[in-house]
Amino acid sequence: MVYSYYPGCTLKNKAQDLDRYARMSAEALGFTLEEIKEWQCCGAVYPQASDEIATKLSAVRALNDAKEKKQDLVTLCSACHHVIKRVNDDMRHVEDIRTKANNYLKLDTPYEGETQVLHFLEVLRDRVGFEKLKEKVVKPLTGRKIGAYYGCLLLRPSGVMAFDDPENPTIIEDFIRALGAEAVVYPYRNECCGGYISLKEKALAGSLVDQVMESAMDKGAQELITACPLCLYNLKNSGAARKLPVRYITELLAEALGLMTE
């Protein structure tokens, strides 16, 4: 199975691990991530205003590229996933945005939201299956207590993202269990890490990260995993010193699949 793949700017730079281990794991699990040509930055935040069109175009280009290849579009970074899924929803349901975006892009056939956008985790859950994944694990992570950090962008708004229950998600926990580790459920796993605010509002971001860390430690987590480079950065660099190690979901996956080269 071949999927179109949109890595996004950060995965080509600071978050190369997230990208590299995803590709390796995909091959091991029997699917291929085929990077789309000439992708542009998704903009990292979804433009909420109804009159913003130009800022959504790079997402539409990526979506159309996948459509032309008749492939589903897979993303990894939470921000890219959020932006692309929501823009796709706009292209499907908001006539005004669809018309204007197509007018700008002048495609041969207009893009109307045909592409299915999947997060890497959704591919694992819905296409590969966590049971199947479990069978492929060669180095089960037995005994490790791992907390999932979802953040906000993957889950909300749930109506559009349709990723998981926005208040009590289970997909990353199921993923952790499939890899043989113990999933630690803690209440702040879906609260914001501070996002872009950490650039200028250090104190606010710090208090949010502390809350997440404290909550995860309170429930007995020994390490955290996330899908988002910005979450990872904030969790590591904001707030108090008392911290759990944070890694990408794909690092953990590669480790359990025995793909880590040490």
Partner: protein, 661 residues
């Protein structure tokens, strides 16, 4: 040639403010066949009706049109007026110029123009009306009540006390309903069981009441006065005639892991069980899904210990068919599922509970024997938080659009009871609005605040998070405009109520209409609140809309009076607007017979005289006692032989023509 009179009602200013009634009169008077037209302030008043009667007599009218409110309001009034003046009541047509015109339009010109057109359509129709004679049908002097909660019990008692037979069908093993799960009741704090149990006993002992528990309505046919109902008596696996209710079987049953429905899953019960100690009948049932004997074939402990020999593993479901003159729906409510509201940690923390669960915890017969304690570690709480409107008043997909009505009061009750019994426990209520319309209700709520020191904070809670063995409640105080982060031991969610999920199935069987929230629709929101628009179907309790106990009991009594009023009649006048076949046009194809939902059409071999030619033909015959007048057959008929009296093809076409003129 018909002589038509047209009567235009002002309805005070309801119609006259937007419709120029004088112009309607003027326009109507010019229509062919109209020999009289006038307007009056209130046509439905005695004086208005007198005007109609006088005009009928003076002008020798053969038919009348009243331009007024909806025919659903006053069609009968005017039909009776016509009949008193000596013309057939079905020679009356209503032009609805209030609900369909004056109330929805603002522009006088536009509304008047429309009123004239509606009047013309009614005139065109009445010109083609023919006198109709209503037939009669029998009334079975027995009522069925679906649901054995306080609503159903009260309705049944009131009907039975009036001297009529009543059957109660209850789905669970005992009557009692939600009220039997409550600990105390507002605003007087009487013990719920103490006031309910005598009613349950009275119902069970009443010679006119028959109770089917662990039973469900399976099929309904017939119509007002004469319904035929199939009741499925689910296999109890216990012979009711032999069981003495000693309870040994429940004690000895080795399978004790089934969640107790009665205690809202807070503890478990045995596989053979009665839901609660005061259950009526006091005869257990075997829950076959959890019974070891039924699962593996081994066990049989209950049969061994039963001295009465009442256990019967071979028992089968039984269908009972009964006839009823009236059916009362009293199917009640449940709380909504909270799996969509996990910002309050209901799925993850056992110390976050619903108010109904708290009732069980507070109850001496409940899972904690009435001790207030946390379900996680069985420690008594030092502080508690109540969150109001969870799932009520929601415009999103998760919740319900309506106010559940009872939550403000029961939360005040819970808060007060806890402060009374455990004065050291801090109680905080987060509210959006406190709604206390009802006798002594606001006083009750104020007592909770002023005498019992319950802390009310205005502002909905955003999140409840488990931190250590505490719950962190994150909210705001909208009055102080301040963040609230409050550690507490227990959180109680005032969960929205919704109609019993089975009600949709039941409403479909009864062809009773239901609204988008699954509440049964009443015939008129103000004037006929306990009747369904479907004749012979009555509504009791929360199945019609959120209600507290006093309102439920009042409505249950009202429904009973309506049933008694129906059963007191020896026969009913049937709707004469039924189908009729023209045997000369009928080609005997059976198309009509196939679409009739009532089996009202049969075919007979008959000699007909077709313009002098006598021959035997197979023709359709409508049984007017069975026909309900839907008209499905009239459209199915390929030869145009079948027509509906009162809504004939010619009449409807005349209306179409008048509107499109």
């Amino acid at each position: 040639m018909q002589r038509i009179g047209v009567f235009v009602c002002h309805c005070g200013s309801n119609i006259a403010a937007t419709v120029d009634v004088a112009r309607v009169v003027e326009a109507a008077a010019k229509e062919p066949g109209v020999v009289h037209a006038e307007d009056y302030a209130y046509m439905c008043s005695e004086a208005g009706q007198l005007k109609i009667r006088e005009a009928i007599k003076e002008k020798n009218l053969t038919g009348i049109v009243v331009c007024s409110c909806s025919p659903r309001m006053h069609e009968n009034t005017f039909r009776q007026a016509a009949e008193r003046a000596g013309i057939n009541p079905y020679m009356v047509e209503i032009a609805n110029i209030r609900e369909h015109c004056s109330w929805i339009h603002k522009d006088m010109e536009e509304a008047t123009e429309k009123a004239v057109i509606l009047a013309r359509a009614a005139i065109a129709k009445v010109t083609l009306n023919a006198p109709l004679q209503a037939g009669t049908s029998r009334v079975v002097k027995r009522a069925l009540v679906i649901g054995g909660g306080i609503a159903g019990i009260q309705t049944a008692l009131d009907i039975a006390d009036a001297g009529y037979e009543v059957d109660i069908v209850e789905k669970t093993p005992s009557i009692g309903g939600r009220m039997s799960q409550l600990d105390k009741t507002f605003p007087t704090l009487d013990c719920s069981a103490c006031i309910l149990t005598p009613k349950m006993v009275e119902a069970a002992a009443h010679e006119k009441i028959h109770i089917y528990t662990y039973s469900e309505v399976e099929k309904v046919s017939g119509f007002v006065g004469d319904f035929t109902v199939d009741i499925r008596k689910k296999a109890r696996s216990v012979d009711m005639s032999k069981c003495t209710g000693c309870g040994v079987c429940q004690e000895k049953c080795p399978s004790k892991k089934a969640p107790s429905e009665f205690n809202r899953g807070l503890n478990t019960r045995s596989a053979i069980y009665t839901p609660f100690a005061q259950a009526i009948p006091n005869v257990p049932v075997i829950d076959r899904e959890n019974c070891i004997k039924f699962k593996t074939g081994k066990c049989g402990v209950c049969a061994k210990v039963c001295q009465a020999g009442a256990i019967d593993y071979e028992q089968k479901d039984e269908i009972v068919t009964e006839n009823y003159g009236a059916i009362v729906v009293a199917t009640g409510f449940d709380t909504i599922k909270l799996d969509q509201y996990d910002e309050y940690s209901y799925s993850t923390s056992p110390d976050v509970i619903t108010s109904l669960e708290l009732e069980r915890i507070m109850n001496a017969a409940g899972p904690t024997k009435g001790h207030l304690e946390r379900m996680s570690d069985h420690k008594p709480p030092k502080s508690m938080v109540f969150i109001q409107c969870v799932g009520s008043r929601c415009a999103d997909k998760r919740g319900k659009s309506y106010c559940s009505k009872i939550c403000c009061m029961y939360t005040a009750k819970h808060a007060m009871l806890i402060r009374d019994k455990y004065p050291d426990v801090e109680v905080t209520v987060f509210y959006i609005d406190v709604r206390t319309p009802g006798k002594n209700f606001d006083e009750f709520y104020r007592r909770a605040v002023e005498e019992y020191g319950v802390n009310y904070i205005k502002g909905q809670v955003g999140k409840v998070a488990e931190i250590g063995d505490k719950l962190l409640v994150q909210g705001v105080d909208l009055i102080d405009n301040k963040r609230i982060l409050m550690e507490t031991d227990m959180v109680v969610l005032a969960t929205a109520i919704e109609p019993n999920p089975d009600v949709r199935k039941i409403a479909t069987m009864l062809t009773a209409s239901i609204d988008t929230n699954n509440f049964l629709t009443e015939s008129h929101a103000k004037l006929r609140p306990v009747e369904s628009p479907t004749a012979g179907i009555f509504l009791s309790g929360v199945c019609q809309g959120p209600k507290d106990i006093p309102e439920t009991v009042a409505q249950a009594g009202a429904a009973a009076v309506k049933v008694v009023g129906l059963l007191a009649k020896d026969h009913l006048v049937t709707n004469p607007c039924v189908a009729k076949s023209d045997e000369l046009l009928c080609n005997g194809c059976s198309s009509c017979e196939k679409v009739c939902p009532y089996g009202a059409i049969s075919y007979v071999e008959k000699e007909v005289n077709d313009h002098g030619i006598r021959e035997n033909r197979r023709v359709a015959l409508v049984n007017s006692a069975l026909c309900q007048g839907c008209g499905a057959c009239t459209v199915a008929c390929p030869s145009g032989a079948m027509d509906l009296q009162g809504f004939s093809n010619r009449q409807i076409l005349a209306e179409v023509d008048a509107i499109c003129r």
